[in-house]
């Protein structure tokens, strides 16, 4: 307390000008009293005054000591140093600008990548008390987690576990058609147990969660974003009704916009009670089925119980409940993790990807910092004379160091702030990358408090580290030689200068970065040349799901056939067809097939539904047999397969007329089509089987809806509105979704190579620019220091072109050393990233040959100007200016 009070008064003393007359008067009074005493003792006035001053210890010293106490001297020194820094920065604005920009690029890149880490690895879900909310999964011993629960298992877990105060369950994601306030819209939601919002302690924006009696009631909780976008944030929305897939629901609450579901990636927009949801899904398995795993479970730790204590209970609990586990899951264990964290099976890949990115951006920051260190170093060296004079006049080395450190700290902080601004733009740019998934996911990035703190710390650490070298250089000028004006640190015979080492390191890091960039660019290029096996130009699509409106199977078939027929006659349409999910959507249905009558292991096959005209509209060649035509809906099942399936199942035989057996029965093969991509761009050809739409709908429903595919020779944009209106003309209550051209759809399949190429490309480019600026700086400085020597050489007969060559050779030698150092490192790192590359070897010859050549060429350009300067030195001038 006392300390604060005195600090505050001293601060005031520093800020407001001191009334020094007050203390002067006090001093005068003191001396006067002492003189009085002296004179009373018999001394003369002068003698008394002399003794008084001696006894005082000197007026100036006393004044200074008083002043030091009445202000904050260290603060004033700091402000002075600050002003000196600003002054010197204003004198050399280029240095300051380059330094700030370099740091900004480095910190900005780091902030952007860290916001990804923050979002996907560190962020807790926006529930109450996230640290005590756990997600429960089932996994085999030693296998990556997690599988879902069956209802009996959930009930057993809930009844018998002792570590939790409450347990709730939910079903991931299911679709509904919401209508009643505008055009019908397909939305995704979750079915939850009635205690879900209590267990998650969700802070509701309006209304409440569910109560125990509502387990079958038609009540719904909406997300804030749906509330805003569809209901204009109506404050009286609670207890209004809304239509979900044709049924009337009462709205009881709104969840905060940050909450999209506990998993944080799926973008759920509404929540209804679990049993209500079951009654809405056609063909839902009976809840008592031990073998249906469909529930995700969350549990709230009892107060005082830790995650480790709860985990210890899981093994005996699994044993107790072993008889409820399905037979296929014998030996499985319950496994606990923090709710909202990535499940171990998925998190591995994500963490590696993010770790690689973090390493890359730290590399970029290191290059940037080396640049700035170089610049400051050069500055420190050119100010040696000034520093030597200061030292001679009594400044301490500490104060000289302080000034340089303060300057580097200021530059780094300014760069850091600019970097945060850059990362705001970058995260917005990254949001434009649509992650290709058939279900809605939310991967939005935000620059939050954690990222800002990280950027601040990075800037400060940067500033301190890169200021250390120049600070040392500034505080130790070789006094005698510096006063003479010589370059004290360039002693003859010194082969390695610190600046040279810095530049070599920078260029080596640039080699590594550029090699990675080259690899990812080549990967992108090769992925764009992948033959997907079907046409993407001139094709547009839209999806509907009439089942959400309560259509029966037959009515759905009729609806879809009418849709196709009417689309076929639209002006400009060449061919129209219906399928369930378009190709390259990341996967759909898979079943195992065997040749009918044989006992071979089943071949996993991707399944798609199709109407006649499907293959024509997508330009998939029919290589054998014929297309679907007028197969009877309830007749014997037929199928068209792709070449890969035919070769795997019927090598060297004609597959037409053969029969294959799957879980849904026996199919006769009536046609073979060319291979196409099914799930992802990078996949090898895989077996695909196409089933006629009308036959399939008698026993199966597409979870993701149905897609109308239209091929036109004209403009696809012109068809957007007419196709929508076509759907509404058949039934205005049916929601249209995923309307896009095939090209746009394919583009999102290129997500990963595009993302990697963009990120690494940007980093590589930045790293290259920074390294070359550094190289230019060092060469420039070296030339400017050697003008004297060059003048002598030229006076002794050296030609300007040989001088130029000497400088260029010097620069290229640095680059050569850097390449020798960096190339093997790049080679090694390339091996680690092989899983991210499409269609090229990690040790791609073109990349690894091109990078050194590119670097040497650009280095030549960077060294040209200094070399030219050296060559144009006028020997008369330099020899005269001693």
């Amino acid at each position: 307390m006392r300390f604060l009070r005195s600090f505050w008064m001293r601060l005031r003393g520093s800020i407001s000008p001191q009334k020094s007359d007050d203390f002067s008067a006090e001093l005068e009074s003191h001396i006067a009293h002492h003189v009085d005493d002296g004179m009373r003792a018999g001394l003369s006035a002068d003698e008394a005054r002399r003794r008084a001053l001696i006894r005082l210890g000197g007026t100036e010293q006393t004044r200074q000591a008083h002043r030091d106490r009445s202000t904050l001297p260290w603060l004033e020194v700091l402000v002075l140093d600050f002003r000196t820094c600003l002054r010197s920065m204003r004198k050399h604005p280029t240095v300051a600008v380059v330094a700030i920009l370099s740091i900004a690029l480095g910190v900005g890149a780091n902030a952007t990548i860290f916001s990804m880490v923050s979002r996907f690895v560190l962020q807790a879900p926006p529930v109450g008390e996230p640290s005590t909310l756990l997600a429960v999964g089932i996994a085999g011993k030693g296998e990556p987690c997690c599988n879902s629960f069956s209802v009996p298992l959930y009930d057993g877990f809930r009844a018998q576990s002792k570590s939790f105060s409450a347990v709730a369950a939910y079903f991931d994601l299911f679709a509904a058609s919401i209508s009643g306030n505008g055009a019908p819209q397909r939305v995704w939601g979750q079915g939850v147990t009635t205690n879900f919002f209590d267990v998650t302690e969700m802070p509701m924006v309006l209304g409440r969660g569910f109560i125990a009696s509502e387990s079958r009631a038609p009540v719904v909780v909406l997300s804030e974003s749906l509330w805003r976008s569809r209901f204009q944030a109506d404050p009286h929305i609670v207890s209004n009704t809304v239509q979900l897939s044709g049924r009337t629901f009462t709205i009881v609450g709104i969840t905060p916009s940050a909450f999209h579901g506990v998993d944080q990636i799926l973008d759920a927009q509404f929540w209804i009670p679990l049993n209500t949801m079951v009654s809405m899904i056609p063909d839902a398995p009976p809840p008592s089925d031990r073998n249906s795993h469909w529930l995700n479970v969350v549990a709230r730790l009892r107060p005082g119980i830790t995650l480790d204590q709860a985990s210890a209970e899981m093994e005996p609990l699994s044993a107790d409940l072993a008889n409820i586990f399905p037979d296929s899951d014998k030996g499985f264990l319950f496994s606990l993790r923090k709710a909202g964290s990535l499940p171990p099976r998925e998190s591995g890949v994500v963490k590696i990807f993010l770790a690689a990115l973090m390493a890359v951006v730290l590399l970029v920051l290191a290059i940037a910092a080396a640049n700035v260190a170089n610049l400051l170093f050069a500055q420190a060296l050119s100010r040696q004379r000034e520093m030597a004079v200061r030292l001679a006049l009594g400044a301490t080395r500490t104060s000289l160091r302080r000034i340089v450190l303060l300057e580097s700290l200021l530059l780094s902080l300014a760069g850091g702030m600019l970097g945060v601004a850059l990362s705001l733009a970058a995260t917005r740019g990254l949001a434009a990358f649509h992650f290709p998934a058939p279900v809605p996911i939310d991967v939005s990035l935000a620059v939050g408090g954690r990222v800002l703190l990280y950027s601040f710390v990075a800037s400060v650490v940067c500033g301190m580290l890169l200021g250390a070298g120049p600070a040392w250089a500034a505080s130790h000028p070789r006094l005698a030689r510096a006063l003479k004006g010589e370059d004290a640190l360039a002693s003859p015979g010194r082969r390695f200068s610190l600046r040279g080492v810095l530049v070599v390191t920078q260029v080596a890091m640039a080699v590594i970065l550029l090699s990675m960039t080259g690899l990812f660019l080549r990967s992108l290029q090769s992925s764009s040349m992948i033959d997907i096996g079907f046409r993407s130009n001139g094709v547009t699509m839209l999806s509907v799901d009439p089942r959400l409106n309560g259509y029966s199977a037959q009515r759905t078939v009729d609806f879809l056939q009418q849709l196709r027929n009417r689309a076929q006659v639209l002006p400009g349409v060449d061919e129209a067809a219906i399928t369930d999910v378009p190709l390259l959507s990341g996967g759909n249905r898979t079943d195992g097939f065997t040749v009918a009558g044989k006992g071979d292991p089943p071949v996993p096959t991707d399944l798609y539904m199709a109407t006649p005209g499907y293959f024509r509209s997508l330009g998939i060649p029919l290589v054998n047999g014929h297309d679907f035509g007028n197969e009877a809906t309830n007749g014997s099942k037929v199928a068209i397969v792709n070449r890969d399936f035919a070769e795997k199942m019927f090598p060297n035989t004609n597959p037409i007329g053969q029969h294959v057996k799957g879980p849904n029965g026996i199919f006769e093969i009536i046609g073979v089509v060319g291979d196409t991509k099914s799930r992802t761009l990078g996949e090898e050809p895989r077996p695909i089987l196409f089933r006629p739409l009308n036959q399939t709908l008698t026993y199966e429903n597409s979870f993701m809806g149905y897609t109308l595919i239209v091929h036109t020779k004209g403009s696809t944009a012109a068809l957007t509105e007419p196709l929508r209106r076509l759907v509404y003309s058949l039934d205005p209550a049916v929601a249209v979704f995923n309307q896009e051209t095939m090209n746009a759809h394919i583009r999102s399949a290129y997500f990963l190579p595009r993302l990697a190429a963009t990120l690494f490309g940007t980093m590589g480019f930045i790293g290259l620019v920074l390294a070359l600026v550094g190289l230019y700086g060092v060469m420039n400085y070296s030339v400017s220091r050697r003008t004297h020597e060059i003048g002598i050489r030229m006076a002794l007969g050296a030609q300007s072109h040989s001088v130029r060559r000497m400088i260029l050779r010097q620069g290229l030698r640095l680059v050569a050393i850097a390449i020798v150092l960096g190339w093997p490192a790049a080679w090694f790192l390339a091996k680690l990233s092989s899983s991210f590359l499409y269609g090229i070897e990690p040790h791609d010859a073109l990349t690894f040959a091109a990078v050194p050549v590119l670097l040497i060429t650009i280095a030549l350009i960077a060294c040209w100007i200094p070399a030219q300067r050296a060559a144009s030195v006028d020997p008369m001038e330099t020899l005269r200016a001693e």
Partner: protein, 113 residues
Amino acid sequence: MGEKTDVWQGTLALMVLRTLELMGPQHGYGLARRIEQTSGELLAVNYGTLYPALLKLEQEGYIRSRWGVSDNNRKAKFYELTKAGAKQVRKAAAEWEQTTAILARFLSPQGES
């Protein structure tokens, strides 16, 4: 240099407060003379060191100052104890007595067996 100064400044502060407690309001010179006398002329420090100490005590709120007229009919700045200062004297005095008592036991000729 640092430690000795801190210890000295601490004891000087206590001496100032005690002197003000006993003598009432005093000006800087008077305090210096009085401290010198009380210490039996053993302390012969520069009078100038008193003023930063007085400033510190004033900033911490243990003493307050105002201009007045001295016995010599001169203007002088007088310092007097505040309530907090009075409390501080008692507290610091008790601490010092305890410290010296403990040290005395260690430094006594026999020492503890």
